[in-house]
Subunit: 239 residues, 2 copies
DNA sequence: TAGATTGTTAATCGATTAACAATC
DNA sequence: TAGATTGTTAATCGATTAACAATC
Protein backbone atom coordinates (compact mmCIF):
# COMPACT_ATOMS: atom_id res chain seq x y z
CA UNK A 1 0.00 0.00 0.00
CA UNK A 2 2.94 2.33 0.36
CA UNK A 3 4.24 2.26 -3.21
CA UNK A 4 1.47 3.20 -5.60
CA UNK A 5 3.31 2.25 -8.74
CA UNK A 6 5.98 -0.29 -9.54
CA UNK A 7 8.21 2.42 -11.00
CA UNK A 8 7.43 5.15 -8.44
CA UNK A 9 9.18 8.36 -9.45
CA UNK A 10 7.57 11.52 -8.07
CA UNK A 11 5.52 12.09 -11.20
CA UNK A 12 4.52 15.65 -11.80
CA UNK A 13 1.30 15.83 -13.75
CA UNK A 14 0.56 19.14 -15.50
CA UNK A 15 -2.59 20.93 -14.36
CA UNK A 16 -4.14 20.82 -17.81
CA UNK A 17 -3.72 17.05 -17.78
CA UNK A 18 -5.16 16.69 -14.27
CA UNK A 19 -8.25 18.58 -15.41
CA UNK A 20 -8.78 16.12 -18.26
CA UNK A 21 -8.28 12.89 -16.33
CA UNK A 22 -11.86 12.93 -14.99
CA UNK A 23 -13.09 13.32 -18.57
CA UNK A 24 -11.13 10.25 -19.63
CA UNK A 25 -12.44 8.38 -16.61
CA UNK A 26 -16.01 9.14 -17.59
CA UNK A 27 -15.40 8.15 -21.22
CA UNK A 28 -13.82 4.85 -20.14
CA UNK A 29 -16.76 4.16 -17.86
CA UNK A 30 -19.15 4.72 -20.75
CA UNK A 31 -17.11 2.43 -23.02
CA UNK A 32 -16.98 -0.20 -20.31
CA UNK A 33 -20.74 -0.02 -19.78
CA UNK A 34 -21.35 -0.60 -23.46
CA UNK A 35 -19.29 -3.76 -23.18
CA UNK A 36 -16.15 -2.54 -24.91
CA UNK A 37 -13.05 -4.25 -23.58
CA UNK A 38 -10.28 -2.58 -25.54
CA UNK A 39 -9.90 0.76 -27.24
CA UNK A 40 -7.32 2.72 -29.21
CA UNK A 41 -6.20 6.20 -28.25
CA UNK A 42 -8.16 7.41 -31.25
CA UNK A 43 -11.40 5.87 -30.02
CA UNK A 44 -10.97 7.04 -26.44
CA UNK A 45 -10.00 10.51 -27.59
CA UNK A 46 -13.15 10.77 -29.68
CA UNK A 47 -15.29 9.65 -26.74
CA UNK A 48 -13.61 12.24 -24.52
CA UNK A 49 -13.75 15.05 -27.04
CA UNK A 50 -10.01 15.61 -27.44
CA UNK A 51 -7.48 14.67 -30.10
CA UNK A 52 -5.51 11.48 -29.79
CA UNK A 53 -2.10 13.15 -29.55
CA UNK A 54 -3.21 15.03 -26.48
CA UNK A 55 -4.73 11.93 -24.95
CA UNK A 56 -1.57 9.87 -25.40
CA UNK A 57 0.57 12.68 -24.05
CA UNK A 58 -1.70 12.97 -21.02
CA UNK A 59 -1.67 9.24 -20.35
CA UNK A 60 2.09 9.16 -20.69
CA UNK A 61 2.35 11.18 -17.46
CA UNK A 62 0.66 8.34 -15.58
CA UNK A 63 2.79 5.55 -16.98
CA UNK A 64 2.67 3.06 -19.82
CA UNK A 65 -0.72 1.48 -19.56
CA UNK A 66 -1.29 0.69 -23.23
CA UNK A 67 -0.01 -1.93 -25.61
CA UNK A 68 1.55 -0.84 -28.88
CA UNK A 69 -0.27 -2.20 -31.88
CA UNK A 70 -3.27 -3.05 -29.71
CA UNK A 71 -4.52 -0.16 -27.60
CA UNK A 72 -5.73 0.09 -24.01
CA UNK A 73 -7.56 -2.37 -21.81
CA UNK A 74 -10.61 -0.32 -20.83
CA UNK A 75 -11.03 -1.68 -17.28
CA UNK A 76 -7.35 -1.53 -16.49
CA UNK A 77 -6.88 2.01 -17.72
CA UNK A 78 -10.06 3.09 -15.97
CA UNK A 79 -8.77 1.81 -12.68
CA UNK A 80 -5.35 3.38 -13.14
CA UNK A 81 -6.87 6.79 -13.82
CA UNK A 82 -9.33 6.47 -10.93
CA UNK A 83 -6.45 5.64 -8.62
CA UNK A 84 -4.38 8.52 -9.93
CA UNK A 85 -7.21 10.98 -9.34
CA UNK A 86 -7.93 9.46 -5.97
CA UNK A 87 -11.50 8.36 -6.48
CA UNK A 88 -10.90 4.75 -5.63
CA UNK A 89 -11.43 6.03 -2.13
CA UNK A 90 -14.43 7.75 -0.66
CA UNK A 91 -14.29 11.50 -0.02
CA UNK A 92 -16.60 12.93 2.62
CA UNK A 93 -17.95 16.33 1.57
CA UNK A 94 -19.95 19.07 3.31
CA UNK A 95 -22.19 21.50 1.46
CA UNK A 96 -22.79 24.90 3.02
CA UNK A 97 -25.73 27.00 1.86
CA UNK A 98 -28.88 25.01 1.12
CA UNK A 99 -30.74 27.41 -1.17
CA UNK A 100 -31.76 26.47 -4.70
CA UNK A 101 -28.28 25.57 -5.78
CA UNK A 102 -27.48 23.74 -2.53
CA UNK A 103 -30.60 21.65 -3.05
CA UNK A 104 -29.55 20.81 -6.56
CA UNK A 105 -26.05 19.86 -5.43
CA UNK A 106 -27.34 17.75 -2.55
CA UNK A 107 -29.57 15.87 -4.97
CA UNK A 108 -26.90 15.44 -7.62
CA UNK A 109 -26.39 11.72 -7.99
CA UNK A 110 -23.12 12.22 -9.82
CA UNK A 111 -21.27 12.98 -6.60
CA UNK A 112 -22.08 9.74 -4.84
CA UNK A 113 -21.34 7.60 -7.85
CA UNK A 114 -17.97 9.24 -8.40
CA UNK A 115 -16.33 8.78 -5.04
CA UNK A 116 -17.90 11.61 -3.05
CA UNK A 117 -20.23 11.28 -0.09
CA UNK A 118 -22.23 14.23 1.19
CA UNK A 119 -21.95 13.83 4.97
CA UNK A 120 -23.66 17.08 5.96
CA UNK A 121 -25.74 19.97 4.66
CA UNK A 122 -25.26 23.19 6.60
CA UNK A 123 -27.11 26.47 6.58
CA UNK A 124 -26.98 29.52 8.83
CA UNK A 125 -30.73 30.08 8.55
CA UNK A 126 -32.63 28.31 11.41
CA UNK A 127 -35.70 28.21 9.16
CA UNK A 128 -33.98 25.61 7.06
CA UNK A 129 -32.75 23.38 9.87
CA UNK A 130 -34.01 19.81 10.12
CA UNK A 131 -35.41 19.96 6.60
CA UNK A 132 -34.58 16.75 4.79
CA UNK A 133 -32.78 17.23 1.48
CA UNK A 134 -31.93 14.09 -0.43
CA UNK A 135 -32.42 12.20 2.81
CA UNK A 136 -29.99 14.34 4.79
CA UNK A 137 -31.13 16.78 7.48
CA UNK A 138 -29.97 20.38 7.19
CA UNK A 139 -27.89 21.32 10.23
CA UNK A 140 -26.74 24.63 11.72
CA UNK A 141 -23.62 26.11 10.15
CA UNK A 142 -22.06 26.19 13.62
CA UNK A 143 -21.89 22.40 13.59
CA UNK A 144 -19.23 22.68 10.88
CA UNK A 145 -16.21 22.09 13.09
CA UNK A 146 -17.56 19.01 14.85
CA UNK A 147 -18.73 17.48 11.56
CA UNK A 148 -15.41 18.08 9.83
CA UNK A 149 -13.61 16.46 12.72
CA UNK A 150 -15.99 13.53 13.06
CA UNK A 151 -15.94 12.56 9.38
CA UNK A 152 -12.47 13.74 8.43
CA UNK A 153 -13.90 16.08 5.82
CA UNK A 154 -11.26 17.50 3.49
CA UNK A 155 -13.51 18.98 0.80
CA UNK A 156 -16.12 21.68 1.29
CA UNK A 157 -18.66 23.09 -1.14
CA UNK A 158 -19.83 26.70 -0.79
CA UNK A 159 -23.26 27.47 -2.24
CA UNK A 160 -24.08 30.55 -0.17
CA UNK A 161 -24.70 34.12 -1.32
CA UNK A 162 -21.55 36.04 -2.25
CA UNK A 163 -21.44 38.05 0.96
CA UNK A 164 -21.31 34.98 3.19
CA UNK A 165 -18.72 33.11 1.16
CA UNK A 166 -15.49 34.47 2.64
CA UNK A 167 -16.64 33.83 6.19
CA UNK A 168 -17.68 30.30 5.30
CA UNK A 169 -14.31 29.72 3.67
CA UNK A 170 -12.47 31.03 6.73
CA UNK A 171 -14.43 28.74 9.01
CA UNK A 172 -13.87 25.78 6.69
CA UNK A 173 -10.14 26.36 6.61
CA UNK A 174 -9.99 26.82 10.40
CA UNK A 175 -11.89 23.56 10.78
CA UNK A 176 -9.31 21.72 8.69
CA UNK A 177 -10.80 21.69 5.22
CA UNK A 178 -8.14 22.21 2.57
CA UNK A 179 -10.08 21.96 -0.70
CA UNK A 180 -13.01 24.20 -1.52
CA UNK A 181 -15.42 24.20 -4.44
CA UNK A 182 -16.92 27.68 -4.56
CA UNK A 183 -20.21 28.43 -6.33
CA UNK A 184 -20.59 31.88 -4.79
CA UNK A 185 -19.72 34.74 -7.15
CA UNK A 186 -16.96 36.03 -4.90
CA UNK A 187 -13.16 36.00 -4.84
CA UNK A 188 -12.01 33.95 -1.87
CA UNK A 189 -8.80 34.58 0.02
CA UNK A 190 -7.36 31.46 1.58
CA UNK A 191 -4.00 30.50 3.11
CA UNK A 192 -1.38 28.78 1.01
CA UNK A 193 -1.95 25.07 0.78
CA UNK A 194 -5.70 25.45 0.46
CA UNK A 195 -7.11 24.75 -2.99
CA UNK A 196 -10.08 26.68 -4.27
CA UNK A 197 -11.90 25.91 -7.47
CA UNK A 198 -14.60 28.23 -8.66
CA UNK A 199 -17.73 27.56 -10.65
CA UNK A 200 -19.42 30.74 -11.76
CA UNK A 201 -22.53 30.41 -13.85
CA UNK A 202 -22.82 34.00 -14.95
CA UNK A 203 -19.15 34.18 -15.91
CA UNK A 204 -19.62 31.18 -18.20
CA UNK A 205 -22.57 32.89 -19.85
CA UNK A 206 -20.61 36.09 -20.26
CA UNK A 207 -17.80 34.24 -22.01
CA UNK A 208 -20.37 32.79 -24.41
CA UNK A 209 -21.90 36.24 -24.91
CA UNK A 210 -18.50 37.63 -25.88
CA UNK A 211 -18.06 35.07 -28.65
CA UNK A 212 -21.68 35.34 -29.69
CA UNK A 213 -21.34 39.08 -30.09
CA UNK A 214 -18.36 38.57 -32.37
CA UNK A 215 -20.15 35.92 -34.45
CA UNK A 216 -22.96 38.34 -35.33
CA UNK A 217 -19.91 39.75 -36.97
CA UNK A 218 -18.19 42.53 -35.15
CA UNK A 219 -19.63 46.03 -35.20
CA UNK A 220 -22.34 45.67 -37.85
CA UNK A 221 -25.15 43.17 -37.98
CA UNK A 222 -28.29 42.27 -36.12
CA UNK A 223 -27.78 42.53 -32.40
CA UNK A 224 -30.37 40.75 -30.29
CA UNK A 225 -33.14 42.45 -28.35
CA UNK A 226 -32.21 45.45 -26.24
CA UNK A 227 -29.10 46.92 -27.73
CA UNK A 228 -27.83 49.75 -25.57
CA UNK A 229 -24.56 50.54 -27.28
CA UNK A 230 -23.12 53.89 -26.40
CA UNK A 231 -25.14 54.25 -23.21
CA UNK A 232 -22.66 54.13 -20.32
CA UNK A 233 -25.00 52.45 -17.89
CA UNK A 234 -24.68 48.89 -16.69
CA UNK A 235 -26.22 47.61 -13.54
CA UNK A 236 -24.80 44.56 -11.87
CA UNK A 237 -26.18 43.46 -8.54
CA UNK A 238 -24.05 42.22 -5.65
CA UNK A 239 -25.13 38.61 -5.85
CA UNK B 1 -23.00 52.62 -33.58
CA UNK B 2 -21.00 51.04 -36.37
CA UNK B 3 -17.49 51.70 -35.02
CA UNK B 4 -17.20 50.41 -31.49
CA UNK B 5 -13.89 52.04 -30.74
CA UNK B 6 -12.22 55.16 -32.00
CA UNK B 7 -9.11 53.20 -33.01
CA UNK B 8 -10.92 50.15 -34.37
CA UNK B 9 -8.34 47.57 -35.43
CA UNK B 10 -9.69 44.02 -35.41
CA UNK B 11 -8.51 43.35 -31.88
CA UNK B 12 -7.85 39.73 -31.11
CA UNK B 13 -8.34 39.05 -27.44
CA UNK B 14 -6.72 35.85 -26.11
CA UNK B 15 -9.11 33.28 -24.66
CA UNK B 16 -7.49 33.42 -21.24
CA UNK B 17 -8.11 37.16 -21.17
CA UNK B 18 -11.72 36.81 -22.32
CA UNK B 19 -12.34 34.40 -19.44
CA UNK B 20 -11.07 36.97 -16.94
CA UNK B 21 -12.95 40.01 -18.24
CA UNK B 22 -16.17 39.04 -16.42
CA UNK B 23 -14.15 38.75 -13.21
CA UNK B 24 -12.83 42.27 -13.67
CA UNK B 25 -16.33 43.48 -14.45
CA UNK B 26 -17.62 42.03 -11.20
CA UNK B 27 -14.74 43.51 -9.20
CA UNK B 28 -15.32 46.94 -10.74
CA UNK B 29 -19.00 46.72 -9.94
CA UNK B 30 -18.18 45.94 -6.31
CA UNK B 31 -15.73 48.86 -6.13
CA UNK B 32 -18.28 51.15 -7.73
CA UNK B 33 -20.95 50.09 -5.25
CA UNK B 34 -18.70 50.89 -2.32
CA UNK B 35 -18.34 54.39 -3.72
CA UNK B 36 -14.81 54.08 -5.10
CA UNK B 37 -14.30 56.31 -8.13
CA UNK B 38 -10.73 55.53 -9.11
CA UNK B 39 -8.47 52.54 -8.64
CA UNK B 40 -4.96 51.43 -9.53
CA UNK B 41 -4.21 48.22 -11.39
CA UNK B 42 -2.87 46.90 -8.11
CA UNK B 43 -6.16 47.54 -6.29
CA UNK B 44 -8.32 46.12 -9.05
CA UNK B 45 -6.06 43.12 -9.41
CA UNK B 46 -6.37 42.35 -5.70
CA UNK B 47 -10.15 42.66 -5.88
CA UNK B 48 -10.21 40.30 -8.85
CA UNK B 49 -7.77 37.80 -7.38
CA UNK B 50 -5.04 38.13 -10.01
CA UNK B 51 -1.68 39.89 -10.11
CA UNK B 52 -1.43 43.39 -11.45
CA UNK B 53 0.87 42.52 -14.35
CA UNK B 54 -1.70 40.12 -15.70
CA UNK B 55 -4.48 42.64 -15.22
CA UNK B 56 -2.67 45.39 -17.10
CA UNK B 57 -1.71 42.99 -19.89
CA UNK B 58 -5.34 41.88 -20.17
CA UNK B 59 -6.66 45.44 -20.23
CA UNK B 60 -4.11 46.41 -22.85
CA UNK B 61 -5.92 44.16 -25.35
CA UNK B 62 -9.01 46.34 -25.00
CA UNK B 63 -7.29 49.68 -25.40
CA UNK B 64 -5.77 52.35 -23.20
CA UNK B 65 -8.43 53.11 -20.65
CA UNK B 66 -6.19 54.12 -17.74
CA UNK B 67 -4.20 57.22 -16.88
CA UNK B 68 -0.51 56.86 -16.07
CA UNK B 69 0.30 58.07 -12.61
CA UNK B 70 -3.37 57.97 -11.65
CA UNK B 71 -5.06 54.67 -12.40
CA UNK B 72 -8.46 53.80 -13.82
CA UNK B 73 -11.83 55.53 -13.61
CA UNK B 74 -13.99 52.76 -12.16
CA UNK B 75 -17.21 53.61 -14.02
CA UNK B 76 -15.51 54.22 -17.32
CA UNK B 77 -13.49 51.02 -17.24
CA UNK B 78 -16.52 49.07 -16.11
CA UNK B 79 -18.51 50.26 -19.08
CA UNK B 80 -15.70 49.55 -21.52
CA UNK B 81 -15.36 45.99 -20.28
CA UNK B 82 -19.13 45.43 -20.27
CA UNK B 83 -19.27 46.66 -23.85
CA UNK B 84 -16.36 44.48 -24.87
CA UNK B 85 -17.99 41.38 -23.37
CA UNK B 86 -21.32 42.32 -24.86
CA UNK B 87 -23.39 42.64 -21.70
CA UNK B 88 -24.48 46.20 -22.34
CA UNK B 89 -27.16 44.47 -24.33
CA UNK B 90 -29.72 41.95 -23.18
CA UNK B 91 -29.26 38.30 -24.12
CA UNK B 92 -32.35 36.10 -24.25
CA UNK B 93 -31.64 32.61 -22.92
CA UNK B 94 -33.56 29.34 -22.81
CA UNK B 95 -33.00 26.67 -20.18
CA UNK B 96 -33.78 23.07 -21.10
CA UNK B 97 -34.23 20.48 -18.35
CA UNK B 98 -36.06 21.79 -15.29
CA UNK B 99 -34.95 19.29 -12.67
CA UNK B 100 -33.15 20.34 -9.50
CA UNK B 101 -30.38 22.11 -11.33
CA UNK B 102 -32.74 23.70 -13.83
CA UNK B 103 -34.76 25.09 -10.93
CA UNK B 104 -31.66 26.51 -9.35
CA UNK B 105 -30.56 28.09 -12.63
CA UNK B 106 -34.01 29.56 -13.31
CA UNK B 107 -33.99 31.12 -9.85
CA UNK B 108 -30.43 32.41 -10.10
CA UNK B 109 -30.67 36.17 -9.85
CA UNK B 110 -27.15 36.61 -11.18
CA UNK B 111 -28.28 35.96 -14.75
CA UNK B 112 -30.81 38.73 -14.94
CA UNK B 113 -28.57 41.27 -13.32
CA UNK B 114 -25.71 40.50 -15.67
CA UNK B 115 -27.37 40.98 -19.02
CA UNK B 116 -29.18 37.69 -19.45
CA UNK B 117 -32.93 37.17 -19.57
CA UNK B 118 -34.48 33.73 -19.23
CA UNK B 119 -37.22 33.78 -21.84
CA UNK B 120 -38.28 30.14 -21.53
CA UNK B 121 -37.95 27.01 -19.42
CA UNK B 122 -38.38 23.80 -21.38
CA UNK B 123 -38.78 20.20 -20.32
CA UNK B 124 -39.70 17.04 -22.21
CA UNK B 125 -41.67 15.67 -19.26
CA UNK B 126 -45.40 16.67 -19.48
CA UNK B 127 -45.61 16.33 -15.69
CA UNK B 128 -43.56 19.46 -15.37
CA UNK B 129 -45.42 21.57 -17.88
CA UNK B 130 -47.20 24.71 -16.71
CA UNK B 131 -45.37 24.62 -13.38
CA UNK B 132 -44.20 28.11 -12.50
CA UNK B 133 -40.50 28.40 -11.76
CA UNK B 134 -39.23 31.85 -10.84
CA UNK B 135 -42.43 33.23 -12.35
CA UNK B 136 -41.93 31.49 -15.70
CA UNK B 137 -44.12 28.58 -16.85
CA UNK B 138 -42.37 25.38 -17.92
CA UNK B 139 -43.15 24.62 -21.56
CA UNK B 140 -42.83 21.53 -23.76
CA UNK B 141 -39.39 20.98 -25.23
CA UNK B 142 -41.02 20.87 -28.66
CA UNK B 143 -41.74 24.58 -28.37
CA UNK B 144 -37.99 25.20 -28.66
CA UNK B 145 -37.94 26.21 -32.32
CA UNK B 146 -40.78 28.72 -32.10
CA UNK B 147 -39.37 30.28 -28.93
CA UNK B 148 -35.89 30.63 -30.37
CA UNK B 149 -37.30 32.30 -33.44
CA UNK B 150 -39.68 34.56 -31.55
CA UNK B 151 -37.13 35.90 -29.10
CA UNK B 152 -34.00 35.66 -31.21
CA UNK B 153 -32.40 33.33 -28.70
CA UNK B 154 -28.68 32.78 -29.33
CA UNK B 155 -27.71 31.13 -26.03
CA UNK B 156 -29.08 27.89 -24.65
CA UNK B 157 -28.50 26.18 -21.32
CA UNK B 158 -28.67 22.39 -21.05
CA UNK B 159 -29.53 21.02 -17.62
CA UNK B 160 -30.88 17.65 -18.65
CA UNK B 161 -29.60 14.16 -17.82
CA UNK B 162 -26.53 13.13 -19.78
CA UNK B 163 -28.42 10.86 -22.16
CA UNK B 164 -30.71 13.62 -23.38
CA UNK B 165 -28.00 16.25 -23.82
CA UNK B 166 -26.82 15.49 -27.37
CA UNK B 167 -30.35 15.48 -28.74
CA UNK B 168 -31.12 18.75 -27.00
CA UNK B 169 -27.94 20.25 -28.41
CA UNK B 170 -28.81 19.07 -31.92
CA UNK B 171 -32.25 20.61 -31.70
CA UNK B 172 -30.84 23.84 -30.30
CA UNK B 173 -28.34 24.12 -33.13
CA UNK B 174 -30.98 23.33 -35.75
CA UNK B 175 -33.19 26.02 -34.22
CA UNK B 176 -30.44 28.59 -34.62
CA UNK B 177 -28.75 28.66 -31.22
CA UNK B 178 -24.98 29.01 -31.57
CA UNK B 179 -23.79 29.17 -27.94
CA UNK B 180 -24.47 26.43 -25.45
CA UNK B 181 -23.77 26.19 -21.74
CA UNK B 182 -23.81 22.50 -20.90
CA UNK B 183 -24.34 21.21 -17.36
CA UNK B 184 -24.97 17.63 -18.42
CA UNK B 185 -22.01 15.30 -17.87
CA UNK B 186 -21.71 14.45 -21.54
CA UNK B 187 -19.40 15.31 -24.42
CA UNK B 188 -21.39 17.24 -27.01
CA UNK B 189 -20.69 17.16 -30.72
CA UNK B 190 -21.68 20.35 -32.48
CA UNK B 191 -20.97 21.88 -35.91
CA UNK B 192 -18.16 24.36 -36.34
CA UNK B 193 -19.18 27.84 -35.36
CA UNK B 194 -21.18 26.67 -32.37
CA UNK B 195 -19.60 27.37 -28.98
CA UNK B 196 -20.03 24.97 -26.13
CA UNK B 197 -18.92 25.64 -22.59
CA UNK B 198 -19.15 22.90 -20.04
CA UNK B 199 -19.75 23.08 -16.32
CA UNK B 200 -19.25 19.73 -14.68
CA UNK B 201 -19.68 19.56 -10.94
CA UNK B 202 -18.20 16.15 -10.37
CA UNK B 203 -15.18 16.90 -12.53
CA UNK B 204 -14.41 19.94 -10.39
CA UNK B 205 -14.61 17.79 -7.28
CA UNK B 206 -12.36 15.17 -8.84
CA UNK B 207 -9.72 17.78 -9.60
CA UNK B 208 -9.83 18.86 -5.96
CA UNK B 209 -9.62 15.23 -4.86
CA UNK B 210 -6.48 14.75 -6.93
CA UNK B 211 -4.70 17.62 -5.20
CA UNK B 212 -6.09 16.64 -1.81
CA UNK B 213 -4.73 13.15 -2.20
CA UNK B 214 -1.29 14.55 -2.93
CA UNK B 215 -1.44 16.91 0.06
CA UNK B 216 -1.98 14.06 2.51
CA UNK B 217 1.43 13.57 1.11
CA UNK B 218 1.71 11.07 -1.65
CA UNK B 219 1.71 7.37 -0.88
CA UNK B 220 1.95 7.38 2.91
CA UNK B 221 -0.25 9.17 5.40
CA UNK B 222 -3.80 9.12 6.64
CA UNK B 223 -6.21 8.56 3.82
CA UNK B 224 -9.82 9.46 4.53
CA UNK B 225 -12.60 6.98 5.18
CA UNK B 226 -12.95 4.08 2.80
CA UNK B 227 -9.53 3.53 1.28
CA UNK B 228 -9.70 0.87 -1.37
CA UNK B 229 -6.18 0.97 -2.72
CA UNK B 230 -5.22 -2.03 -4.77
CA UNK B 231 -8.79 -3.16 -5.36
CA UNK B 232 -9.44 -2.76 -9.09
CA UNK B 233 -13.11 -1.93 -8.73
CA UNK B 234 -14.63 1.45 -9.37
CA UNK B 235 -18.25 2.05 -10.09
CA UNK B 236 -19.30 5.14 -11.94
CA UNK B 237 -22.91 5.57 -12.94
CA UNK B 238 -24.09 6.87 -16.29
CA UNK B 239 -25.44 10.19 -15.00
C1' DT C 1 7.00 -10.76 -40.86
C1' DA C 2 3.61 -6.86 -41.82
C1' DG C 3 0.36 -3.87 -39.88
C1' DA C 4 -1.12 -1.26 -36.14
C1' DT C 5 -0.72 1.72 -32.46
C1' DT C 6 1.65 3.39 -28.50
C1' DG C 7 4.93 6.49 -26.04
C1' DT C 8 8.08 10.17 -26.83
C1' DT C 9 10.48 13.79 -29.10
C1' DA C 10 10.80 18.29 -30.85
C1' DA C 11 8.59 22.18 -32.80
C1' DT C 12 5.08 25.44 -32.16
C1' DC C 13 1.90 28.06 -29.94
C1' DG C 14 -0.15 30.69 -26.24
C1' DA C 15 -0.07 32.49 -21.45
C1' DT C 16 2.34 34.45 -17.59
C1' DT C 17 5.52 37.37 -15.41
C1' DA C 18 8.96 40.89 -14.36
C1' DA C 19 10.91 44.91 -15.57
C1' DC C 20 10.85 49.45 -17.23
C1' DA C 21 10.19 53.29 -20.49
C1' DA C 22 6.47 56.37 -21.29
C1' DT C 23 3.77 59.72 -19.34
C1' DC C 24 0.31 61.70 -16.30
C1' DT D 1 9.72 68.88 -11.26
C1' DA D 2 9.18 64.41 -8.50
C1' DG D 3 6.35 60.60 -7.64
C1' DA D 4 3.19 57.38 -9.26
C1' DT D 5 1.35 54.20 -12.29
C1' DT D 6 0.21 52.70 -16.81
C1' DG D 7 1.07 50.17 -21.19
C1' DT D 8 4.46 47.42 -23.46
C1' DT D 9 8.47 44.66 -24.17
C1' DA D 10 10.98 40.58 -23.73
C1' DA D 11 11.97 36.52 -21.21
C1' DT D 12 10.07 32.50 -19.33
C1' DC D 13 7.03 29.04 -18.66
C1' DG D 14 3.56 25.64 -19.78
C1' DA D 15 0.39 23.40 -23.15
C1' DT D 16 -0.55 21.61 -27.68
C1' DT D 17 0.44 19.29 -31.78
C1' DA D 18 2.55 16.55 -35.44
C1' DA D 19 5.57 13.23 -36.53
C1' DC D 20 7.80 8.97 -35.91
C1' DA D 21 10.73 5.46 -33.70
C1' DA D 22 9.74 1.74 -30.70
C1' DT D 23 7.39 -2.35 -30.27
C1' DC D 24 3.39 -5.32 -29.83
Amino acid sequence: MSARNSSETARVIPEATVARLPVYLRALTALSESGIRTCSSEELATAAGVNSAKLRKDLSYLGSYGTRGVGYDVEYLRYQIAREIGVTQDWPVVIVGIGNLGHALANYSGFRSRGFRVVALLDADPERHDELVAGVAVQPFDDLESIVEEHGVAIGVIATPALAAQNVADRMVAAGISSILNFAPAVLTVPEGVDVRKVDLSIELQILAYHEQRKAHGAQGSLPDGVADGVPEVTEAAL
